[in-house]
Symmetry: C2
Subunit: 303 residues, 2 copies
């Protein structure tokens, strides 16, 4: 019998792709989420449990029989300026309570979706390696670093397999064009409709979601101990270049309204890929032009 | 008019000495605590507010008119093996909620009592500098590192003066001989009564509480930005040597029952003092023999 992986947040953008990749990789998949996003498609074989991760009874039931857990749930996004107390209550405590449940389960491997885009803070235009100082500039990033610390403690004291993945900016089919984050589908939709777009940060590292999903699945199969790994491409793209690529994919000129840098936005964020290549043998397969074409092809079918 | 400093946990062992040192240093002192320890004496001029730091209304009222806050409250000790979720709820969230209150107050300086004895984890017998990797082995230490991260974020994004002090093992008058931590008064009492003592960790850095209190007061007067400082002596003492010193101070032989190393205890913990000497000009004044004599003198008066 295939082993079961629990995907917390499996009904969301990244989670749905992890569900597909895990299914293709021979795992049985159990999705646990408050809802399934109307923008995503889950594998027909996935078991779907609708529940809240703050409900420890529901979580305990969902963990039964699982060998691995992937934690993708987050109620905040980098642009939020929520108070630290709320960030920790909403986005740290549920994961800590999950850790406290694990000893009574058969879970051997935990993979956590951190945030390569926010945990480092302002680090300049060079690719950032995992050992660099963490200095987030938004409470979302602080919440991620706090969970990372607690996961490191868990790995250190229990010997469990713990992988912390720090994705850069994921994009691809299934990402809402109406969401609070995900500049690519948002811009594609607006450009296609002739609506104004707002440029608010310069250089980012865009990773195609199917590539990212593969990294999550490889991580869940890793053995004991702690791994902290960037999951990006090592390539930076300016927002101007991105808009140019979107214009050619969508076939329409963008109307760029104004520039507006938010306090929490760093000038550049590019993730070094040596660590994940060495540790998991993972590297991105889909270049930005190809990924954008696939994203637009999907998005056209939904608009 | 003198400036007012709020001492959260000012009714405890360390806090009462900070209250005395701050008063001597020309500050007005407001103590906020759930209780005043029966073992301590507070300055007669200190204003005492009995309250719970989880009560944000009470905390807000206590902050009124203060220029600085010293946060000494902790409900856990290193030997606890409490779940991470409980540690964060009890010992992290109140401090984060405090930070969220500060912008509407006149507070310019925050000093946090972290734990030099636990945040580093196992680092061998050499004095540990502040830049070394944090790898706590107990949830108490994880809670401290989490608050440290959040304070660093607060300093980075608001420009407030934030000092994180990492004391080694404090001892001295006012430390309960019946408490869950503080091996010196516990051993002194037991040795004096002919009771068995249990040796459970090897080498520690004992700092006299009046020295430590002076570091807190110097820190509260520091200007904007973040400082992370050990507050120890740089000197390690084995538990065997300590027991020998206690025997000569108390004038009685110890009955040593057995050895028992707890999982959370590290073999050695000695803190490098260069950082705090350079930054605050602080150095310990009271050597261990003198401090033990003063502690025993105080303890004799209470037994």
């Amino acid at each position: 019998m295939n082993e079961t992986v629990l995907l917390l947040g499996g009904g969301g953008f990244i989670g749905s792709h992890v569900a597909a990749a895990a299914t293709a990789g021979g795992y049985r998949v159990r999705v646990f989420d408050r809802q399934v996003s109307p923008w995503v498609t889950l594998p027909s074989t996935a078991e779907v449990v609708i529940g809240d991760c703050a409900d420890s009874m529901a979580l305990r039931a969902a963990l039964a029989g699982c060998m691995g857990v992937v934690q993708l749930i987050s109620s905040s996004v980098p642009g939020d300026a929520s108070p630290l107390g709320r960030e920790v209550r909403d986005n740290v405590l549920p994961t800590l309570d999950l850790l406290d449940l694990l000893p009574e389960t058969g879970v051997r491997s935990i993979v956590f979706a951190s945030s390569g885009g926010t945990v480092y803070g302002d680090h300049g235009p060079a690719p950032i390696t995992e050992g660099e100082r963490l200095a987030p500039r938004c409470s979302h990033g602080v919440g991620k670093t706090v969970v990372e610390q607690c996961l490191a403690f868990h790995a250190r004291t229990t010997g469990a397999a713990v992988t912390i993945l720090r994705p850069s900016n994921p994009y691809g089919p299934g990402q809402s064009p109406m969401g609070r984050q995900g500049v690519i589908p948002i811009f594609m939709r607006k450009v296609s409709l002739g609506e104004e777009i707002t440029l608010f940060y310069p250089v980012r590292d865009y990773v195609y979601v199917e590539d990212l999903a593969a990294a999550f699945v490889q991580a869940v199969g890793a053995s004991g101990g702690l791994r902290v790994l960037n999951a990006g491409t090592g390539q930076g793209t300016s927002l101007e270049s991105l808009v140019g690529l979107i214009e050619s994919v969508v076939g329409r000129r963008a109307r760029v309204a104004r520039r507006d840098q938010r306090g929490c936005d760093v000038a550049a964020n590019i993730l070094a890929t040596d660590g994940i290549r060495r540790t998991l043998g993972w590297r991105p397969q889909v270049d930005l032009a190809t990924g954008l074409a696939r994203t637009w092809s999907w998005l056209q079918g939904t608009l």
